[in-house]
Symmetry: C2
Subunit: 321 residues, 2 copies
Amino acid sequence: MPVAAIIGGGVIGAAWASRFLLHGWNVCFYDPASHSEAVLHAVLDKARHWVPEIYDQLPPEGSLTICESIAEAVVDAEWVQESTPERLEIKQSVLRDIQAACSETAIVASSTSGFMPSELQAGASRPEQILVAHPYNPVYLLPIVECVPSQLVPLATVERAEEILRDIGMKPITLRAEIPAHVGDRLLEAVWREALWLIKDGIATTEQIDDIMTHGFGLRWGQKGLFETYRTAGGEAGMKHFLEQFGPCLQWPWTKLTDVPDLNDALIDRIVEQSDQQAAGRSVSELEDERDANLVAMLKALKQQDSAAGAFLNRVGAADA
Amino acid sequence: MPVAAIIGGGVIGAAWASRFLLHGWNVCFYDPASHSEAVLHAVLDKARHWVPEIYDQLPPEGSLTICESIAEAVVDAEWVQESTPERLEIKQSVLRDIQAACSETAIVASSTSGFMPSELQAGASRPEQILVAHPYNPVYLLPIVECVPSQLVPLATVERAEEILRDIGMKPITLRAEIPAHVGDRLLEAVWREALWLIKDGIATTEQIDDIMTHGFGLRWGQKGLFETYRTAGGEAGMKHFLEQFGPCLQWPWTKLTDVPDLNDALIDRIVEQSDQQAAGRSVSELEDERDANLVAMLKALKQQDSAAGAFLNRVGAADA
């Protein structure tokens, strides 16, 4: 059985561990925080409950080893996933410790949502071994992972990384160039910024904005992305015609509102109050269970739609064979 | 049977007509374009195929009357839906013709994606009768509709509008204040602007961006919106803690990229080329069928998730009783 080392627990690291375990990898887990094992088992319990629902069959679960040091965790690993706090000096230090002990042929991936691989590689002993593999929460269910090498990473390493990510049921997208925050989080940040303005200006509540997403374009984007949606909306006149019509809209007054809103105490309090009302007493664990039940139902439903050019079979990865 | 007048065909008007017909309303349809009847029947055929799949039962279909004038179409209507081209002078002129012939008690709604109700009401004989009801494509399947009255519209009119929209299986969200482009299209515009930069700078292709959406946050947003997702991600520490951590991110370098990109010929050509490659020969009609099959599968799956606080039952509206 291949070994994956998970360095740094928390929700993301724990979900990476769960994904590797459920797809048959052995996992060596290291996090110095005293509560990290409890978090790991809570996430693993949820993953064990939900993940088998979207696969016809899964391999036998791998073995889990809780390690006392980074060196112990990474020594036999083919894949090392770093999911420590989002501070560059922490990540660089952890990566140094990882590379001091891991195999030269291992892939060392970072879950960073913001940093570019070249930043992580700076000062590393073997920069060509390090790349970004940025997943989305809940990592044990959502297939997407942004794979970002720098120009120092050989193509063979990138291809091996993609192969391993597909082996654990993921859909790796390897970006053509590095950029801070990669692709998805840049799009999310754009939405977040606009949503803050809408709350601040009293146009809609958090619940209304969420409803507009979930009952509208969220459903669209669960199965067709921005560009294919617009291609479809453009009709038989074609994408070029559609884009030429779209151009002027970018100059409309409402597109100028691109300032960064001040997330001050008043705005935080307003969002918290509206969000509390929206949650109506449901705990975070209950919200997680709702989310996972919904995602599993959607993934199962989309999997049946193999008429859709087979696109959705990819969602559940190669382990489905 | 109540009567809805659909003024202006095209994909949006035709889909409004289909939604009303399939929920048992009689429809009077007017569009001066010679091909509008063909568009109407093409859309209606698709709606007849897909809509019954998400309901346990539907009322008998209403009758369709093709009218020769706005006056003929609106004279008996309880609801008038204007879906003419997105130019203010056209919409104001059509609204004048509508109000010259329709009942004073009818609701006159506009599908405008950008204009505020106060702009549409300017110069109208009965401004208090006009509001925005902005739907999302495909209108016969997606439940969301943004309802935007101005301060001139009485509360009773707004409530009646919401009731009618729910009657045809929609989820009306009435905004607290008017703003150009309402809520959803402002969020979409933010994503579109960022996506254009990513294509222009060669970070990812249209297909990669779409894949990141459909296999990642699109699935999230198909069932939980931005705020509930972040509340869940924040964990037991709560929304306030999460927001306080989030604040500094808004000042990170990558959030400053809020300029409006120039959608020039070179960028248009690049998008068209990538989009053509992504479509791999599938026609727009095939893409529509894939989209609708997927949406129906997702809606049916989510409907079963009544554990989710009943939220998803709302997706398929009151006609489901």
